[in-house]
Subunit: 323 residues, 2 copies
């Protein structure tokens, strides 16, 4: 494994979308490694929990939208590493408001990259893309050579922003890496509903005694990645010169069905129930069927492996929401 | 070959970017087939030639930018077929002004597709993408399964707009087809410079006695497609039910080096000279090397084949510019 203690200690690191789910976990880990962390976010949560506050109090916060070029330019100037996590989630939403998705996800990220090109072209940037760029898998597990066939505007824009990062790497020297992540879950997910991750929405439902709504029979298998493993992969990518200009699948590499996930959430929480409903059309239309990541490339080149299985990951997440 | 006489006669057809190079040629052909043609364009050429006027006088003209949702909604309402050719060309330019390219090419096309989804979801739409979505070829000839690796913002946006068309087809029922075209050339190219097509810029230089500027040794081979063949492919795609939701390479399928092209332009025009200069950095950075289209899929499914060789195509284009 990489020696992050050495690499990140004292480094100036920017996390865009730093108060979001992946962002907060990334900031927390970077702070533990001794980095000087700036979180850029356009949103301050109204419900401040002690866990949130413990991270928040240790980082610099820049309140700005990534589409605000002037503010972004000021923030990126002196950074050594950027974890470029800002953006709008939600594949089903994106199909309803595609122009809004375009504005936030494409214009926003082009604004960040333009600022880096002008004021900080040597910076290392990691961009978390999505396994959704592959669309319905033609084979499993899905490796990075799988054809690209986004099924939603969200996924089409993730692919566009991947290409922005790679192009800015080739043309302007930015040290950019793209990660195609599966379904991350874990602590600090504060949003509600499916747009914020199916695993977390199931776990939160169980912990709060609400029913878990399962579309169809729940047989479709997904690749659930515990957030600490994702953060570790991002940290590896930014610190490894061989990762610049590259694309890696990041997932657990193990398949779990939605039904198993729901049952595990109920069993771990010790409460909750599973309610089956027919597929709503807006979800059925973009449902991609089974998905499983082939993570051999990341194992070989980043020397990274996931180390938190689904049982342990759900137990830790249940513990977080209980506190 | 398709029987276009039957299909397009009396059809209401919209050509976005209808006063551009591909647009004018498409309008001219559709008018000859008896279609009711509307050209939507935000630009009226200041130098009106007799050839331009002969086409212009026979079509309905809607002056609007494709980003103007209200005007676009009015224009798309009663159309049966749309050739969606509007947009900004120029790969090198796009890397200098990426946000402008995003606004015109992505926001513009999403605006057209949103208007169709709301007011005309049964329409057939053909979108001409670019062979540039493939990036540097890994093998020749390049088929539709070749990996996608856009080297410019322009190409990244072409890929995004491809995906918009395919997604609107799957989710909203629009009958969309994507064509990945090589290097089209021929009459009605009114813009100047490389951004408007290398073949035309060479031919126009030779006809007007200006030197042809060749970057490097001119050895890189490209696939030059005569405009009439491209128009025929687009007409086939919109009229063939089996083409909806599909992607096809459209090219000549024959390789010609830049030097051969320049020599042929000089020989056909009977004047001009070739001047070699070193590669400018902005072009070298996005140069993709040899390219050749594999057009087997279009031959088989669209029953289309190119029928104008490079000698005849250049002779016809020289003739056009002489008049």
């Amino acid at each position: 494994m990489n020696n992050h203690n050495t690499f990140y200690s004292g480094k100036r690191v920017l996390v865009t979308g730093g108060l979001g789910f992946i962002g907060l976990n990334t900031c927390a880990r970077l702070l533990d490694l001794g980095a000087e962390v700036t979180a850029l976010d356009n949103f301050i949560p109204t419900q401040i929990t002690p866990a949130f506050d413990a991270v928040r109090s240790r980082l610099r916060l820049a309140v700005a939208d990534i589409r605000d070029a002037e503010k972004v330019e000021r923030v990126v100037r002196d950074q050594e590493v950027i974890f470029n996590l800002a953006g709008k989630s939600g594949a089903a939403d994106s199909n309803k408001t595609p122009l809004n998705d375009l504005d936030i996800n494409c214009r926003g990220h082009l604004t960040v990259l333009e600022a880096c090109r002008t004021f900080n072209p040597g910076v290392a940037i990691v961009f978390p893309s999505s396994r959704l760029v592959y669309g319905k898998p033609l084979y499993l597990p899905v490796d990075e050579k799988h054809p690209l066939a986004p099924e939603s505007i969200y996924a089409a824009h993730k692919l566009a922003v991947e290409n922005y990062h790679l192009i800015y790497g080739r043309l302007h020297g930015l040290k950019t890496t793209v990660l195609r992540i599966s379904n991350p879950y874990g602590p600090f997910q504060t949003g509600e509903g499916r747009a914020y991750g199916i695993a977390n929405s199931f776990i939160r439902a169980a912990v709060s005694g609400r029913p878990i709504i399962l579309f169809g029979d729940g047989s479709q298998r997904r690749d659930y990645l515990y957030i600490d493993d994702l953060v570790e992969a991002m940290l590896c990518a930014a610190s490894a010169p061989q990762a610049h200009g590259r694309i890696y699948n990041i997932g657990d590499g193990q398949g779990t069905s939605l039904l198993e996930l729901a049952e595990l959430a109920v069993a771990t929480a010790g409460q909750g129930e599973i309610v089956r409903v027919p597929w709503p059309e807006e979800y059925r239309a973009i449902e991609t069927g089974d998905y499983l990541s082939d993570i051999a490339l990341a194992r070989n080149e980043l020397h990274w492996s996931p180390c938190t299985g689904i049982h342990e990951g759900i137990a830790r997440t249940v513990g977080f929401y209980r506190r």
